[in-house]
Symmetry: C2
Subunit: 158 residues, 2 copies
C-alpha cells in the first residue's frame, strides 16, 4: 500500500517545509538525508513532506532547459484582449497549444498575458496568423518580443 494519508491542505508552510524548500530550490536532487541532517529531522520526514508538497502543488521538482540552447530562439509575451463572455473558451483553446507556456489573467487593457516559445520568426508568424488570431473571441493582441533575458530566478523563498 502506498502512503495514503494526507495532511489537511496546507494553510501555511512551517519551518521544516521552508527548510526543505530552501534546500531544494537550489538543487532539486539534494539527498533527503542531507536536508534531514541540516534540519534535525529524519530522512523519512523530509521524504514525506516533499511528497505532500508535490501532491498539493506547493512544490515542483523540475528540470528546466534553456530554451535558446534547445533551439527555441524566439520568445514573446503577448497581451490578448478577449470578449468578456468568451474568456473561458479562449483560455481552454490556448491551453492546448504547445507553443504557449504561460497564461495569466491580468488587469489592464488586455485580459490575458501569454508567453510563447517558438523556433524562429516564421513560427511566430504562423502562430499569430493561424492560431492566435483564429481563436474566436480574441479581439486584439499586442506582441512584445523578448530580446534577451537579463535575469531569471526560481528561488522565491529567502
Amino acid at each position: 500500500m502506498e502512503e495514503t494519508f494526507r495532511r489537511s491542505l496546507y494553510s501555511e508552510l512551517d519551518d521544516i517545509d521552508y527548510g526543505i524548500v530552501r534546500a531544494l530550490q537550489e538543487n532539486a536532487r539534494l539527498p533527503f538525508t542531507t536536508i534531514a541532517k541540516e534540519l534535525g529531522v529524519t530522512e523519512k520526514t523530509v521524504r514525506m513532506r516533499v511528497q505532500q508538497m508535490q501532491d498539493e502543488g506547493v512544490l515542483s521538482l523540475v528540470g528546466i532547459v534553456n530554451p535558446v540552447k534547445a533551439g527555441l530562439n524566439v520568445q514573446s509575451f503577448i497581451q490578448v484582449a478577449v470578449e468578456a463572455n468568451k474568456l473561458d473558451d479562449v483560455v481552454a483553446t490556448l491551453n492546448e497549444i504547445v507553443e504557449v507556456r504561460l497564461i495569466v489573467l491580468t488587469t489592464g487593457d488586455y485580459q490575458l498575458i501569454i508567453q510563447i516559445l517558438v523556433r524562429n520568426y516564421e513560427e511566430l508568424a504562423q502562430f499569430l496568423m493561424n492560431k492566435l488570431n483564429k481563436v474566436p473571441g480574441v479581439t486584439r493582441v499586442n506582441v512584445i518580443n523578448e530580446l534577451k533575458i537579463l535575469k531569471s530566478k526560481y528561488k522565491f523563498i529567502r
Copy 2:
C-alpha cells in the same frame, strides 16, 4: 579529483541529451539509472551529461514553490521605460532587488518587462514608490497585476 574535463561548448543537444532533458523536465529526481536504461547508455554517461549541461547553463534542476502557497500573494508584470544611456545601470540595480524574479529586454514602448513577487499590495506600493521609481533612469512604468495564473509549464522540449 573532481571531473575536470569539459565538452566543447554545446552547439546543439544530441539525442541522448534530449532524452535526458525530456525525462528530467518531468521529474528532476528521476534516478539516472532509470534514464540510462531507457536510453541504452550507462548511468555514468547520464550523470556526466547532466553535470555538463548544468555547468553550461543548458539545464537547471530546481525546486519551484507555488508563490501563493508561500505567502507571495501579489505578482505583477511591470513594463519599464528607461533612458537609453542608463539601461545598464537600471538593469544592474534591478538585479539586486529581491522582489524581482525576471528581467527581460523587450521590443515595444518600454525597454524592459520585469516580474515581481511580493506578499501584498502594501509591499507592491513600497516597491514602486521606494525602489522602482527611485532608480535613476527609469522614466515610466506600467504595472500589470497578475490576477490568476491559468497555465504555467516548464516542459519546453517535446
